[in-house]
Subunit: 145 residues, 2 copies
């Protein structure tokens, strides 16, 4: 295994064991904003999905400007992963139904077809992983990790 | 106490009990970036200080573009606070010495005057606090909170 492969394995392990990630987006003025999101699904380090609300300010901002980052951090050992890429919003029917779980009626009373229920998708383009003396940038190509 | 005062009290309580905060800054391309920072000192909700490294990419970015945010989150009850404002970097001698603690030689071998030892200062301009059904924006004026 290459050393780069080891870094990516560590980054993937961190992203996989974190149920929560911080999504960074841009305000209308182009300033950074952060919100903690509960991870619904992930495909390696490439793609992450989060259930959200169509009516929220954050979703409106993502629809206007998709520049985004996703950050995972383990406070127990100061291990961090910054993924930079793009976020988008989808109401693809198959995904809305796939991700539906009991109890979500509390947030979306009309069920999986509730117009306020939507999905934020984050696509990674590059990563920075750090832990102790390690601090490494790497590219993320679709179809790889 | 006004309802707004209660919100600010809750926000201040959250920021005060969080030892770690996520600092959001901008990449050269204007995209958001996030890094977890250990809080060194705070003045209410107005100003926060963090020890950092002069040579780091994050510090270089802050010196070029100070647009920033600071985010505190309590995963135990999904309570969050986003502070938006500006970050800057200082090597003010009094602060460097005030913030110096035993063990920091590990990161700054030359002691409190080590050229790689610097302080990131975050000044809040406005906040968004949320918890359960509460989600409230508020302004932060210097000399107030």
């Amino acid at each position: 295994m290459t050393e780069n492969g080891e870094i990516i394995d560590k980054a993937l392990s961190l992203a996989t064991r974190c149920g929560l990630g911080e999504l960074g987006t841009l305000s209308e003025a182009g300033s950074p904003q952060i919100k903690c999101m509960m991870k619904t699904r992930q495909d390696g380090l490439k793609t992450f999905w989060f259930c959200s609300n169509t009516s929220s300010k954050r979703v409106a901002r993502i629809m206007e400007d998709g520049r985004a980052c996703l950050y995972f951090f383990d406070p127990a050992n100061f291990e961090g992963l910054l993924l930079e890429g793009r976020a988008s919003v989808t109401r693809e029917e198959g995904l809305l139904h796939d991700f539906w779980q009991e109890g979500m009626e509390r947030y979306y009373p009309a069920g999986p077809d509730d117009p306020d229920y939507c999905i934020v998708v984050f696509h990674s383009e590059r990563g920075n992983y750090y832990h102790g003396m390690i601090n490494r940038d790497f590219e993320i190509k679709q179809g790889e990790i």
